[in-house]
Symmetry: D4
Subunit: 248 residues, 8 copies
Amino acid sequence: MNENNIKDILSAVKDNELSIDDAIKEFKELPFTDLGFAKIDNHREIRVGYPEVIYCEGKTVEQVREIIKFMLTKNNNILATRATKEMYEAVKDLNPLIRYNELGRVITAKIKPVEETKSYIAIVSAGTSDLSVVEEAKETALILGNKVKVITDVGVAGIHRLFARLEEIRAAKVVIVAAGMEGALGSVLGGLVDKPVIAVPTSVGYGANFNGLSALLSMLNSCASGVSVVNIDNGFGAAYNASMINKL
Amino acid sequence: MNENNIKDILSAVKDNELSIDDAIKEFKELPFTDLGFAKIDNHREIRVGYPEVIYCEGKTVEQVREIIKFMLTKNNNILATRATKEMYEAVKDLNPLIRYNELGRVITAKIKPVEETKSYIAIVSAGTSDLSVVEEAKETALILGNKVKVITDVGVAGIHRLFARLEEIRAAKVVIVAAGMEGALGSVLGGLVDKPVIAVPTSVGYGANFNGLSALLSMLNSCASGVSVVNIDNGFGAAYNASMINKL
Amino acid sequence: MNENNIKDILSAVKDNELSIDDAIKEFKELPFTDLGFAKIDNHREIRVGYPEVIYCEGKTVEQVREIIKFMLTKNNNILATRATKEMYEAVKDLNPLIRYNELGRVITAKIKPVEETKSYIAIVSAGTSDLSVVEEAKETALILGNKVKVITDVGVAGIHRLFARLEEIRAAKVVIVAAGMEGALGSVLGGLVDKPVIAVPTSVGYGANFNGLSALLSMLNSCASGVSVVNIDNGFGAAYNASMINKL
Amino acid sequence: MNENNIKDILSAVKDNELSIDDAIKEFKELPFTDLGFAKIDNHREIRVGYPEVIYCEGKTVEQVREIIKFMLTKNNNILATRATKEMYEAVKDLNPLIRYNELGRVITAKIKPVEETKSYIAIVSAGTSDLSVVEEAKETALILGNKVKVITDVGVAGIHRLFARLEEIRAAKVVIVAAGMEGALGSVLGGLVDKPVIAVPTSVGYGANFNGLSALLSMLNSCASGVSVVNIDNGFGAAYNASMINKL
Amino acid sequence: MNENNIKDILSAVKDNELSIDDAIKEFKELPFTDLGFAKIDNHREIRVGYPEVIYCEGKTVEQVREIIKFMLTKNNNILATRATKEMYEAVKDLNPLIRYNELGRVITAKIKPVEETKSYIAIVSAGTSDLSVVEEAKETALILGNKVKVITDVGVAGIHRLFARLEEIRAAKVVIVAAGMEGALGSVLGGLVDKPVIAVPTSVGYGANFNGLSALLSMLNSCASGVSVVNIDNGFGAAYNASMINKL
Amino acid sequence: MNENNIKDILSAVKDNELSIDDAIKEFKELPFTDLGFAKIDNHREIRVGYPEVIYCEGKTVEQVREIIKFMLTKNNNILATRATKEMYEAVKDLNPLIRYNELGRVITAKIKPVEETKSYIAIVSAGTSDLSVVEEAKETALILGNKVKVITDVGVAGIHRLFARLEEIRAAKVVIVAAGMEGALGSVLGGLVDKPVIAVPTSVGYGANFNGLSALLSMLNSCASGVSVVNIDNGFGAAYNASMINKL
Amino acid sequence: MNENNIKDILSAVKDNELSIDDAIKEFKELPFTDLGFAKIDNHREIRVGYPEVIYCEGKTVEQVREIIKFMLTKNNNILATRATKEMYEAVKDLNPLIRYNELGRVITAKIKPVEETKSYIAIVSAGTSDLSVVEEAKETALILGNKVKVITDVGVAGIHRLFARLEEIRAAKVVIVAAGMEGALGSVLGGLVDKPVIAVPTSVGYGANFNGLSALLSMLNSCASGVSVVNIDNGFGAAYNASMINKL
Amino acid sequence: MNENNIKDILSAVKDNELSIDDAIKEFKELPFTDLGFAKIDNHREIRVGYPEVIYCEGKTVEQVREIIKFMLTKNNNILATRATKEMYEAVKDLNPLIRYNELGRVITAKIKPVEETKSYIAIVSAGTSDLSVVEEAKETALILGNKVKVITDVGVAGIHRLFARLEEIRAAKVVIVAAGMEGALGSVLGGLVDKPVIAVPTSVGYGANFNGLSALLSMLNSCASGVSVVNIDNGFGAAYNASMINKL
């Protein structure tokens, strides 16, 4: 409901085409969201091109299939995270464009084209065990239309490997760092690049990593400025964030 | 040491103005950082205009005075966080441009101009008790050359206050949210704006907030995409991050 | 043992129908609970109509069957929470009124009628993954004789969905909110309704939700007044509480 | 802005006392909250008689004085929690009705009458060290218009003390329990009364109570149904909640 | 109220000296505790000779003085733990027998004699920093009438010191072990003596002892059988427990 | 090596049946434990009649069988805790006296008689879900020669059940309390009996019991004196402790 | 790139065999690591003889096979930790020297000889349940060329067992201690030997050991000097560390 | 008691100078420590030259003065950690060699010479705020007779600073790393040097470092091998450990 709507109602009242009571009723009958939250909807429209994201954990195979089926009718791009292989098997007949990244546990379908960014997101990871988070981030970034460069296995235990790839990382517009154990790569990179660094702690590690807590605290306490953090193993969240920044 | 330096040495060698042994010596005498990390230095040069940041906690008044004094000789802008009033009293005679934000515990001095951004950073906070974090973030963002819009006291307990300011928040290029207690403002804003949101949990609250842990976990677990998190009460970190994004 | 019992004994003593020693014996032979805790029993009687509640976790299928079998002989309504499908299969032959809510893991049997409340309990949830808690709460509320309105998937990531349903929520006498991840829905609703809000943190979420800890802390620290909290995933407890309030 | 305001404007338009443009302007000039959140405001109006609550922690003496001064101009009842004696000294000259409860750290001023409830809230506490929480709860409940009965020092270490007061507790419409250490009183009372019990864990205790964590977990895990929990030491929150229920 | 009281009432009823209604009234007027909890009171009586214990933390100097003053009128022995020196100064004039153990923060007054046990309690501690807990335990044990043997500074870092005192420890009827840091003395002693060992973790130690958590967990996880644990720094609780066992 | 052994050697030296060098050799050849820790061995001898205890968790079926087989050759009573049914199946042919308590996961074999105590241990539990801990405690207490009285399902949610059994509990020499959830039964009993109470927190409960942490903290923070605590679910440890006290 | 390389380039420039631009290019084209991190590579060369270590957790059987296959082509010794039996089955055909330690979950292959140390590492453990950590440490130490002495089952519950083996432990150059539960063995040994002690907390134990946290905190808080700690269950890390020290 | 003592007794028995009973008595009367733990004492003698260490925290000024006074009579070197300036003032008159390191809170007195090591310990720290830990470690290492090289302010936020000092670090025999915040320096150094690295987490940092927990977990989870950890802020422990290794 915008100014014009209000004007129309007022004119109708003034012209005796609408009784005061009916005018009040119109004000009151307008769905709340339409009145106060029209902007929210517009705001959703701005995001057109972004796929709806389905978080599969805690959903049944049937629910996932129903959601994807429905979204395909709306011609949406599909991004389903934390999807099991069984879910993929259950949906792959719905559209030939449906793909599954097993390591990243991601189902995607690029139904309609998304304009690709000029700049790229660097996704950097410490060890091979962080790869599932890397893949989730990569698939998310790609379906959102980003160029991506993936640089793995450059953990600080052999820091020269990181330096060998530093130029590529610095050339990115935004950097995602996935690291488990002590998560030191976040701080080290934060001190070496002047781009926003989004750190993803991973749950990889021995006993006292407490399912990612050690890397999480490490990254939150980074002595390097310019590092922000998302949830443990949340490759999707990092990439979504990075995509927003990459598209600025 | 940059390309020109190398060129100069090589030319001198070529022209017999410098013996090979002396040339090698020059290479070797150069501080390691100059040689191996020229790129890092260049990288630092790119950051020119950025003030060196002094984290005052755990430093003595004398140390802070010495550091600021030295930096002023280099004509640097000054940003000293977590500074006590006593520190300010001890340094204010060093330069007439030195200012102190008591609430934010920040000493600044804009010695040389920094080009101001066109876009602005929105700094949004939940309650009046979060103001010290807001002020730290604001001073940081300003000294780094950002336009800033501060919107306070829009916590979710009275969510209409937030909606009244939503347009201003959405018009920002990047949003900082500071909130204590349950930190819900991070998620709510994350769902309402399509800009990167940097959440700062604050240590404000009753007993079981455990010095900011509740807001921290809340923000890390935000159901809204596009929210990344910095350390508890880390207004500086949020603003540094936001500045990087705002200047992209 | 109530006042009438005491009167009868005293009358019998007075009328020499009962010797003092026998009277003392009767007092002493009465189970302690009957004597000292008559009020407790009365208090239980007041609750008539309330089903006995069986918490199945940690019980064997056989134990659950025995308890339900016994309770049916007493004509009780049945509410068994955290019941597996196997338990249901083992008891369904005991009475044709036995039903199973698989999502909520609840076995119920409405053996005798319970008067239905006029006012209703609103059960509001953030995401589809919170549904099992919602179902447990709903079944509990229904068997206790409450009218219930369930409103799901109105999490703060898309807050307009919540506003669209606000009237219905406000019309309830008491509101249950189930939310995982950051649990922000608790605070947001607490700020929007003037009815008691009972918040149930759920264990839904990524890594650092620590099995519901993040939502739990979030809800305990709610900046909105009027929100109280029950245990993680404790849909039953929330509904039992809400029922008490709804029946006031 | 309520229905009458809208009617007035519409009438003025209809009667040509107000041009359409001016009417639109009035709508637009109204603070957003008035327009889009009329229901919220109405909802606030319903709460008339409720004092605005000032949470003093983290505020300066001056800020508290300014807020109270302003609220007095609006003829509001005053409830300021976590107020230091210094704050009280700074505001007491503002109005002769201003009182201070030192133990509960609460400033109140009953400027306009609030209708008193018929039923009462029982505030029960385990030990004398919980008294400050009890006082905060009591002052809150009173200023909100509730009858209150305070029953202290009935902790489970001497459970007969509790039984001696049980009738009074059972006669309440809603019960607040404040207990530190192991917080067992919450469960014990939950099993003895059939009214909603709101438990407030307090930070009272030896080493491993971890500032109230032990009582908090204890109360959340209560084996008795009908117990909900608020934050550690949050007497205000418990009483606000209880008041809502007491007024149903 | 015991059997005789009931008999009296019944006799009076039988003899028409008391109407039935009045008899019921008497039953009902009797304080609940007298009726249902006579055993509890008797049980308290059995404990005669035990001083009432005053936990001073969270109490004001005035409150402590009032309680002690009152107890002295009842000729009770006094044991006040966690008492500040200021409290002692405020009460010492009440009775010449009042003493203060500054290290243990305990006020005692042996007003009436307590029979001394034949067997003794051994109180063993690891380091000199645990002495305040040792003193609290010692004063408690003494006022309760126990013989006590204190053996300090026998921590496992120099385990030969422990062995030199082992015979004395083994000759005790029950052993209290106070240890901070890693609390290993609990397990070591548990493996060397065949008496019940009550372990008190103390909050002594460097950073990651987390205020006694490390010693607490250590003692709870003792690989030696026969070790039970009380709260951190709870010398009183350990001694109270040990006294119960010593008097069996 | 006991006093008699030393006497024999000395006699042989005196009688020239043994050279001094050979005597020294005998002393030195004796395993260190025999020499330096003769008292420990004596100490072990005092414990004769106590079964060796096998903690089966983390051991293979084969290891358990080998240990039991060996102990049987020494005519020891057997107590194997945390034993799987598979372990029982693998050992039951070793001796016809071998029994298995499935609920308590305990293998026992009473090979030689143990003198039974006159006094008994009361094992009290809150809910039926605590039964496995109760059974572990019971089997341990029995094989160690104690009389045992088991009183289950007297949790504080229906405290009258506890009072009905109080006499039996008070008649015990030492009381074990097993309770999960909020573990309030420990404090309540501690306030009602004047015997040592050993509390076992159990891991039974909803979400925020954090695997027994809530009951553990609750019991450690008991407001009642005379309660000591063993590890979560450690029925064995509680019974071993109680047995020591029961035999004093 | 070493001094000679620089000399060659400079000579070529001087001799006009290389233009200045091409010389600069050569400098710039050199991989960063070759230039700046030559020392790192040398440093790796010093470690020759050390096997590359494969951490198998989170890797697929195929990945492990590929890595081992590749390393064998380079004639490396193999050390693969946290390897499943399935992994071993998948690689054992690659080389006849491949062995599997099932208890320690370690695959090794001694392809080329490593000089054995004269001094030895003592690996001491508390209980039989710590054996898997002991075996991981032992295999690691052996493949790195250390002499090893393993001393198990000397936990502090029967401390005489430890003293019987003390000489052997003291004769080691460095000591590894693996212990779960309360981990007291670390402190006890730290007080008895004057060699560096590396403590490995293990995750063995009842409820409140919290997966090794109790032993970890215990060891970090050791009252004995000379004890340092590695991660929970990290037998490999302890042995790698010990090997470094043993080879000094 | 050594072999000669035993021989003397035996000879006396043989020669009838000592009755068997008296001989047994002598064995029994010998202090346990003399008999069984002679080796422990010798072991202490081996450590001669090491100063006794006084941990001042929790001790009174008087106690510290008494201990130091006593030790000076034995001509011991003094090392007192966590000493306040007040303690220093109270002891400095005892000996002119007494010094105080205020930053490190360490009192030392080198009364007798200690042979200095040839190799040195490198003490490396991340930020200037870690200096107090560095100073504690340095003073400890020096008094124990080690050469020390201190390298500060080389945190990973500006990693080039670390590389500039790498040669010096690598030339040490053992490396101490002190770092707060995310403690990444431990891992980074662990990957760059092939000497044992002893990491000291410090409690320096913003909110979610939780008093050193983040650095502690970070260091325990180091992805680099060869890193062991001591307690938070435990500079003394690190240096004691390093000294042991440096002297091998």
